[in-house]
């Protein structure tokens, strides 16, 4: 006997996440526009430390990833999960805690990042108390999701839900493993890992954050909302099963492609390359499945803004997932890495794929929850075209500029000299591209604002059905005619399903993690590499605080074009005391790994005060406050103790002398600066930062030759 049960869908929580998506989206885009303008006008917004490029850039990336895309994911999940399970969310209270907890985390990020409170690890910049909060809120989301799945009335789990499950499990795993850090105090910690190990864990995280935060949940949304909006079933359900298992299984292995040609051992790089290349298959399988769902319904794509945004989104997904594997090939990577090409690539993904899906979903759910029609199709069209053109104006100049600059870095004259020995020449060449990119970004923001207005008016025209009545028959009352097919059985058992997908992900994780453990014993040691002095530790923390890593790498690759420009290529043994690693991922300015001893202290002083006086046309912002802000000497003792616990061999009791040691080194530097006519307090951040920069990459100069030869061998042709 089947009995019909009556229940209600929770629409209010979906509305709340929708508002958060739109508000944080526009905020995140605006911060992006500000940092884009700063690359064209370095003096833009004056010299306020909290609004400097290095501090705002992580705010922009975090806002777009975790605030905009994050809230959009919750809109999609909370709307579709309830309907696919034919059940209300497990607990209204957990929904509320999840919503408000996530918003508080966003606000705390918006406060701490401009203040320079950061771990410097990309997309994981937030300090340890916020990391813990993220973990707790994520677990709340997980309980709420699994609770809903367990009390569902529909027996089988549709493909979208598998993607949501794998998202939850994998992000939890990534976040916890990458956030291992030892606190110094409430707002400062050092990464548990050092150097190459830290790099490998970070990019295992960074790569898979893109995979399991920006890809899998959006694929789940694609599999639900495209069939819904087009009113036809997914092109191939068989393909979606293959897509899901292949994608989650392969994705997690591919992280090392972010570290090609770095000091990471070659075999780990090759593993990353192979799996990255294989990723094309499931990614394109997914794209084809999404687009082919619309076969025979293309006329509707012309009229329906939901489908329009989704088609552009899925197409961009296909383009990004083609670019990604291509850039994982070493010879392509040699040209694109560290350039603005990557910035173009990620914005194609973020603006078109995540943005397209997010706005598509919003245009779908708002009229349905408010019982109204879209206020204006004309405005929706305007939004669509502004966004699409904006993406074009953004990505194409970045691709063009990135390749141009890279080729300039690598160009030699007939005499065998660098054609552009001054890095700055390669920057000024592409400033028009930076300007065009800001135009593209502005267009996208205008579109988003029009979209926000349109959605607001749509909501105003109706009234929210906060609790939507629904009826369904519980699957417990259903008889299953064909209970033997394996995937069907699996879909009836969500916990087993979750365990299996976790296993798939963990295998890849272990394959990547084991090398990091092996690496520890395999790092060729260089006896002349010593721990940083206390002043250099403080200087390094200033470097981290100001976000220098956002524009400067510390990784000279084994190319002739780089060793001629910067000096000896970086060896893996040089980073063993770097908690965290600061290799960077983009060179808006030159690499700094061999900066130590290259210029006198006074050069750095003048350069920080006003880079344009030393390098006319430079787009590096000035850092006048470094000379005024003081290093607090009370922290160094704790920092030394923390670093020693992490394995840096400071002798016992050294922490007691650290403050004195710091003072005497600072005095020597300030004296040298005074001799050059620059009066700086020895306890200023400027002096500490100069001490750190002058140390960078110099230890190796005293190394015995045979130790260097035992290091990483350059594996590339020397012509690059």
């Amino acid at each position: 006997m089947s009995r019909v049960e009556t229940f209600q869908y929770d629409n209010k929580i979906v509305r709340d996440f929708s508002i958060a998506t739109i508000v944080w989206g526009i905020v995140g885009f605006l911060v992006g526009l500000i940092v884009a303008l700063k690359l064209v006008f370095p003096d833009f917004l004056g010299f306020i430390p909290e609004l400097s490029y290095g501090r705002l850039r992580p705010l922009h990336t975090n806002a777009v990833i975790f605030a905009f895309a994050g809230n959009a994911i919750y809109v999609g999940v909370y709307y579709s999960l309830q309907r696919l399970c034919k059940a209300r969310m497990y607990s209204d209270l957990l929904s509320k805690i999840h919503f408000w907890g996530w918003q508080v985390i966003i606000v705390s990020a918006a406060l701490t990042l401009p203040l320079g409170i950061t771990t410097s690890k990309e997309y994981a910049e937030l300090e340890w108390p916020i990391d813990i909060a993220i973990t707790l809120v994520w677990v709340v989301f997980g309980i709420n999701m699994f609770g809903t799945i367990l009390k569902r009335r529909e027996k089988h789990l549709y493909v979208a839900i598998w993607f949501y499950i794998s998202t939850f499990l994998t992000v939890a795993l990534l976040h916890v493993v990458n956030s291992f850090e030892l606190p110094v105090n409430f707002l400062k910690s050092y990464s548990f890992y050092a150097g190459v190990q830290d790099a490998l864990v970070q990019w295992w995280y960074g790569h898979n954050a893109v995979a399991f935060f920006l890809t899998t949940p959006f694929l789940g949304m694609m599999y639900y909302f495209i069939p819904k909006a087009a009113n036809r079933p997914v092109f191939s359900y068989r393909l979606s099963i293959v897509h899901f298992w292949a994608l989650i299984f392969i994705y997690i292995w591919a992280g090392p492609h972010h570290l090609l040609y770095t000091a990471l051992p070659d075999w780990a790089q090759s593993l990353g390359t192979v799996f990255s290349f294989m990723l094309i298959a499931p990614s394109w399988g997914g794209m084809i499945n999404g687009l082919m769902t619309l076969r025979g319904a293309w006329d509707r794509v012309r009229e329906d803004p939901v489908l329009k945004f989704m088609v552009v989104g899925v197409t961009a997904y296909g383009m990004s997932t083609f670019e990604g594997p291509m850039m994982s090939l070493k010879n392509v990577n040699a040209i694109t890495h560290y350039t603005d090409y990557i910035i173009g690539h990620v914005h194609l993904g973020a603006l078109a794929w995540n943005g397209g899906l997010a706005f598509g979903v919003l245009y779908y759910v708002i009229p349905r929850m408010f019982r109204s029609e879209i206020y204006s199709n004309k405005l929706a069209n305007l939004h669509f075209w502004a966004a699409t053109l904006g993406i074009g104006f953004y990505a194409i100049p970045m691709y063009w500029g990135g390749i141009t600059q890279s080729l300039m870095w690598k160009e030699f004259t007939a005499e065998g000299l660098l054609r552009y020995p001054n890095f700055l020449e390669t920057v000024t060449q592409i400033i028009p591209m930076y300007a065009l990119r800001a135009v593209g970004g502005t267009l996208y923001i205008i579109g988003a604002c029009v979209g926000a207005y349109n959605l607001y008016k749509t909501a105003k025209a109706g009234a929210l059905v906060a609790n939507e009545d629904a009826q369904a028959v519980s699957h417990r009352d259903e008889t299953d005619p064909q209970g033997t097919y394996w995937h069907r059985v699996l879909e009836g058992k969500p916990i087993q399903f979750a365990v299996l997908s976790l296993v798939a992900v963990v295998i890849g994780g272990v394959v990547e993690y084991v090398p990091t453990v092996l690496i520890k014993s395999n790092i060729p040691t260089i006896s002349s590499v010593k721990p940083y002095t206390p002043l250099e530790v403080e200087g390094r923390d200033v470097y981290i605080k100001e976000g220098c890593v956002g524009c400067h790498s510390q990784m000279v690759r084994p190319f002739r074009s780089e060793t001629v420009r910067y000096g000896e290529y970086s060896k893996v043994g040089e980073f063993v005391y770097d908690h965290p690693f600061l290799w960077g991922s983009k060179r808006t300015g030159p690499d700094l790994h061999r900066i130590g001893g290259k210029y006198p202290d006074s050069w750095h002083y003048m350069h920080f005060k006003n880079p344009q006086t030393i390098s006319p046309g430079s787009i590096m912002p000035a850092y006048p406050w470094l000379a005024d802000r003081k290093v607090d000497p009370s922290h160094i003792e704790g920092k030394i103790i923390t670093l020693r616990r992490l394995g840096v061999p400071y002798p016992e009791g050294f922490e007691k002398q650290a403050a004195d040691d710091m003072k005497s080194q600072a005095l020597a530097i300030s004296k040298r600066l005074a001799e050059g006519g620059s009066q700086v307090e020895p306890n200023s951040e400027m002096v500490a930062l100069i001490a750190y920069l002058q140390r960078l990459g110099t230890d190796i100069k005293h190394a015995p030759k045979e130790e260097l030869e035992g290091g990483k061998q350059p594996s590339t042709s020397q012509n690059q």
């Binding site: 529909e154 639900y224 293959v242 629904a470 798939a504």
Partner: protein, 62 residues
């Protein structure tokens, strides 16, 4: 070539080959089972989101 890049680490060649075999095995097994799925089941699953949500709006629509 694979041997060349892997020889830095003891046993890494075995490690990489095992990883690859593992992947291929999982993939082929999955493919095998997916091919065997019954048409009826695939049809039912792919139409799952299109079934009505059980809401009043659906009742009116139908």
């Amino acid at each position: 070539m694979i041997k060349n890049v892997l020889q830095n680490t003891l046993g890494a060649d075995v490690y990489a080959v095992i990883s690859l075999l593992l992947f291929v095995a999982v993939f082929i097994t999955m493919l095998f089972f997916v091919m065997r799925a019954s048409k009826q089941y695939i049809k039912r699953m792919s139409e799952l989101p299109l079934e009505n949500d059980g809401t009043i709006a659906d009742v009116i629509k139908n």
